[in-house]
Amino acid sequence: MTPPDHGAAIDAMADTAGPQAVDELVGLEHSLISVRVALDDDEDVPPEGAVKILRRGLAASPELRVGLRVSLAFAFITAIGRLIVPVLIQLILDHGIVTKAGFDARFTYTACTIGALAIIAFTAMSRITYMRFIRAAEAALANLRVRVFSHIHRLSIAEHTDARKGVLVSRVTSDIETLARFVQWGAMSWILNGTLVILTIMVMLAYSWQLTIVVLVAYSPVVPILRALQRRQLAAYDLTRTRTGELLTELSETVGGAAVIRAYALEGRSRGRLAASIDGVYRAHLKAAKFFAMMFPLGDFFGAVAIAAVTIATAFWGHGWGIDVGKAVAFLFLVNLLLNPVAELSEILDQTQTAIAGWRKVLAVLDVPIEVPEPPDDVARPLPHGALEVAAHHVEFAYRGGDRVLHDVSVTIPAGTHVAIVGETGSGKTTFAKLLCRLADPVSGTVAIGGIDLRSVPAADRRRAIRLVPQDGFLFDTTILDNVRLGRDDATDDDVLAAFVDLGLDGWLARLPDGLQTRVGERGDLLSVGERQLVALARARLADGGLLVLDEATSAVDPETERALSTAMARVSAGRTTVSIAHRLSTAEAADLVLVFADGRLVEQGTHVELAAAGGAYAGLYASWVGNTRTTPQAGLA
């Protein structure tokens, strides 16, 4: 008979929520990071063996080596603490109670006192070692997180695409959380249970090698059966995740399309589809529950088989093997110590796989080379003040692992010129503008600003002199003041205010609820796209920049902000070289020079008037849009 002990605990805990439940009971941490995050983001991560990942991971976080040593100490102490009781049972049964001289009170009480003291001592020691382990492990995780975060920020902008943004965030959040969970529970469980199994078998061997073999043979089928069930269970869990994903998709259609559903009387359709999705989730869950239900009693059942085997072996051959009652009973309790590790095995394997995958992804990020290195001091050359000339010389560019997106672009933009870049989406115009800010380096060719190769310009100079006003005008979730001040650390409140006044934006600022202290919300969402660009322009105004790169907003800006923007633009660009990625015809018309990009090549350059008359790509573009918007009956009034 096998008292369920920890097996029952795992059983009960797992009852409540599946694989994570054990962890939750032990740690009481209900992680915020949903399992559903980043399910399909393991692109371009080379497959490597678990051992290799472990070795590399330890190399990346040396603190973990300390943690590993302490955790081994903890495991030994805890395992020995658990073995005291069965050993004591054997000793007292054989030498205290069932002796030829009858009950030996002195031996019994002495042994019990020593046993109790030992348990207390081991308890104290396990507390100390556990604390040391946790400190080492958590320090390692925190440092790893900071390193990965920092590394990602130093990667070329080519890595920071919209598509990859979520993936990057999950590298420093959910992937590391997976690792944290593993370190706290899974890894500890491997070490502790491994030690416990080895020590238990050693004690068994010390009592009787024959009975040990009997126990191990009787108990061993549990491992392959458990593995087989676990594989099916994992597949079933995958299915529940897929089905839940489908339900969420269906549901977001119902919520997102609420107006359409109501306007077009589509309630019945939605109801039917949702009911099918809900049912799909239900069926998938029950399938998983079936394997889940079967897995847990396995250890208990095979434990009982082992005990039955011990009973038969002891009854028939025990006398000959020199076994006494205490040892036989001790075996009943020692078998019990093997149940817990087996009950946990499938959970740990699952968690380990996830953690190794997470670790692999985290390490892979650290492997991505930093492609835009800052120049060493002996090569660094400062940028001159004032308007800057821009010269691109046979510039080629490709994103990592992608096709060329810029082909042999050569152009010189004299200092102080206002340039508009036009071209269709994907023509390479935005990439070209990014190269001017050194958000990436050309694959070949050079970009020189103010006559100096950008690769030789120190970071501080680049940031002072070259300013980018991005299209979506991202702002940090703080005040307008703080956001503008990011442009120059030492700027006072008055400097910031002056920048707005210079740009003619004091009226706009006055209409905001708290003026400069107005909070802009997440990503600046409390402001419109146009208003966010106003803030970015003020930021640019604050710095003594010689080159301004502006990515115009594509979405409609209301007329008032539109006017404020163009005034501010005109003023901020005075005395600077300005490169605008133009989405509006008016911008191109007003520019000194128009660069036309198509398929990654600079196909035309010249003034608006020249190009419009030249009959090339720009002329076609111009004629088409002008034709469509201005030859309407009222066009004369414009």
């Binding site: 008979m1 369920p4 009960a12 805990m13 409540t16 929520a17 740690g27 995050v37 805890t78 603490g81 109670i97 009950f103 009170a105 019990c112 207390i120 308890t123 556990y130 604390m131 946790i134 400190r135 925190a142 900071v146 975060f149 920092s150 990602i152 920020h153 965030v169 998709t249 549901l251 977001s252 119902t254 399309g257 107006a259 306007a263 589509l266 949702l274 809900i278 029950l286 529950a289 079936k290 239900a293 009693p297 059942f301 039955a308 006398h319 009652v325 009973v329 309790f333 940090f476 990011l486 594509t554 209301d558 007329p559 008032e560 133009a582 015809l585 469509n628 309407t632 009222q634 414009a638």
Partner: protein, 609 residues
């Protein structure tokens, strides 16, 4: 990740949680009593068989080990013991499997029940109600909240089985030896108490860990969202410092949880073992007195190991209760959402193009901040009217009101004389088609999106031709059988708008409302669409427009400013009399539409991204 609405657990006093938790459980059990009863039966089988097992263990010691090791083996007894051990273990396993599976059936069925009720609310609740709640929150109610709300069901059969396990064990302990039973009766409550104390102490630090995981995640999100700004302004070091602070705070909170764990876990581990040692010491003496046999002593120790851990699980149900009852309360909040009103005496609408008469119309989303105020206008049957106004002037709201999607705050809307709230909803929705700026298409085939299960293929063909969607559809890889959306083909903005327009036209509306519905369509194509509509479709139309070319196609212009109709007349009149109207339409004219808009000017090279 679906956002989880803030957990209010911390405000729940324990006793209150239990008081609220029990009705929650009662509601679940009442809804699905059958599977629950089976699960509880399984649990009882497990409990009784677990205790029975300890008897067998004692008997093995007394009647197999002791005599056999002295050379008096009784084969019959050995066989009985072996068969009993295995049969009892088998029964125990069947009990566990039954409990687990049927507990899952109970909770999953309850999830189906709750989810069906929730989505039904989402389908029938008024649009205004849905809009008060962020999509993430609505999804979380049906996803996460439902999961959490029923989670409490799962440990319930186990807990009920546990109570019987404790009762059986106490009886078995007393049967074995009353004096040893007293040790058990003092130890186990102490264990339960210590465990309670532990979970209470660790609760606050564990919540801090959660908060700080959230903090780390927000810093990372914001920082990578703003990667472009961070790079161009050289803010990397500042950002790394921000994350370092968040990561170290998280680390400290985790260490704090670890410290609690390090304090209590070893103690919880040690207590039952100390109890067994006490049993050994006392038991030795009792055996020497002849008060009990070695076998009974072994049984008592087995009962101790049997009970040691379940004591720790006792608190678990209580742990889950507050979380579940809070989640269920949120769900009940959804279920209490109103249904869109249905007229008492629905009136059918005229089969001709509809007349629209709006009097004193007012609407506000936030009390005190009117979006529309005192709007009055009429549209004659068959008339085409342009609605012009700046962003935020109330155009979309006006369209939704006229379509009957939202109920007016003040004033009346009549469609050919019938007050909109009295119109038969099915008839109204067949007669009035609103086409939105954000063209929402279902992740389904294009054909299904257009016909929506009802229209004939002729009607669809007519509509796609009128919406100038026929040619690009023909160029799609699978024509109108092409699947749209997530895993399917992505249409350009202009193509989506044309498909959405076709979907509206399929229904042969008698009042067509276009809310900037062609904004992403190439102006040449837009002009063809509007000309076609005028020529072929017998309908009244209200068209929200920005471009002069569009406005020019209308019979009349309504000019909306700050929620009020400030002018009503022809385009030329308005240009002459309304300076800000002129400024606005000309501002769009001067800057022109985006040079690189995503729509295709030419059907010959339609892009299918």
């Amino acid at each position: 990740m679906v956002d989880v609405a803030p957990d209010e657990t911390d405000e729940e006093p324990r006793a209150g949680a239990l008081r609220r938790g029990v009705p929650v459980l009662a509601r679940y059990i009442r809804t699905h009593p059958g599977p629950f009863a089976i699960a509880v039966t399984g649990s009882l089988v497990f409990a009784s068989m677990a205790v029975a097992g300890t008897f067998v263990l004692g008997d093995i010691t007394d009647h197999v080990f002791t005599p056999a090791l002295k050379g008096h083996r009784d084969n019959h007894t050995v066989m009985v013991a072996v068969v009993a051990t295995i049969l009892i273990a088998a029964a125990r396993s069947v009990g566990v499997v039954t409990r687990r599976y049927f507990a899952a059936v109970t909770s999953r069925r309850m999830q189906v029940t709750l989810r069906s009720q929730i989505v039904d609310r989402y389908i029938v609740a008024p649009l205004a109600w849905l809009r008060e709640h962020p999509t993430g929150e609505l999804l979380a109610h049906a996803d996460n909240d439902v999961e959490v709300a029923v989670e409490v069901v799962n440990p319930l059969p186990f807990s009920l089985g546990l109570i019987s396990l404790i009762l059986f064990s106490v009886v078995a302990l007393f049967l074995a030896d009353p004096i040893l039973a007293v040790i058990g009766l003092t130890l186990f409550p102490a264990l339960a108490f210590l465990n309670r104390f532990y979970t209470q102490r660790v609760e606050a630090p564990a919540e801090r860990v959660q908060e700080r995981v959230g903090d780390v995640s927000s810093v990372a999100h914001e920082s990578y969202d703003g990667a472009l700004v961070v790079k161009t302004l050289g803010l990397e070091d500042r950002e790394v410092e921000r994350l370092r602070v968040a990561a170290e705070r998280l680390r400290d909170a985790r260490i704090e949880v670890g410290a609690m764990r390090a304090l209590f876990e070893p103690a919880l581990d040690a207590l039952p073992n100390l109890g067994i040692i006490a049993i050994l010491a006392l038991g030795g003496w009792r055996v020497s007195q002849g008060a009990l046999s070695e076998g009974r002593l072994v049984q008592v120790m087995a009962l101790f190991t049997l009970l040691a851990f379940p004591m720790r699980v006792v608190g678990f149900l209580l742990e889950e209760m507050p979380r579940s009852s809070v989640a269920l309360r949120r769900i009940d909040g959804v279920l209490a959402a109103p249904s869109a009103p249905f007229p008492a005496h629905p009136v059918a609408l005229s089969p001709e193009p509809l007349a629209v008469e709006v009097r004193g119309l007012g609407f506000e989303y936030v009390p005190g901040e009117p979006v529309l105020a005192d709007c009055s206008f009429s549209i004659a049957p068959g008339e085409v009217v342009a609605l012009v106004g700046a962003t935020g002037s109330g155009k979309s709201t006006l369209c939704e009101l006229v379509a009957g999607l939202v109920a007016p705050g003040a004033g009346t809307i009549r469609l050919s004389g019938v007050p909109i709230e009295d119109a038969d909803p099915d008839d109204r929705r067949a007669a009035v088609s609103l086409v939105f700026q954000e063209s929402f298409l279902f992740a389904d085939t294009l054909a299904e999106n257009l016909a929506l299960g009802r229209a004939s293929s002729d009607a669809v063909a007519d509509a796609t031709r009128l919406a100038q969607a026929d040619r690009f559809i023909a160029h799609l890889p699978a024509g109108d059988a092409t699947v749209l959306g997530e895993r399917g083909v992505t249409l350009s903005g202009g193509q989506r708008q044309r498909a959405a327009l076709a979907r509206a036209l399929v229904r042969r509306p008698r009042l067509l409302l276009l809310d900037d519905a062609t904004s992403a369509v190439d102006p040449t194509i837009e002009a063809r669409i509007l000309a076609g509509l005028r020529a072929e479709l017998a309908t009244t139309a209200l068209i929200v427009a920005h471009r002069i070319s569009t406005i020019a196609l209308a019979d009349r212009v309504l000019y909306l400013r700050d929620g009020r109709i400030v002018a009503n007349g022809s385009h030329a009149e308005l240009l002459a009399t309304q300076p800000d109207y002129a400024a606005m339409v000309l501002a769009y004219e001067v800057s022109g539409p985006p040079l690189d808009r995503d729509d295709d000017g030419d059907d010959e090279h339609e892009d299918v991204a």
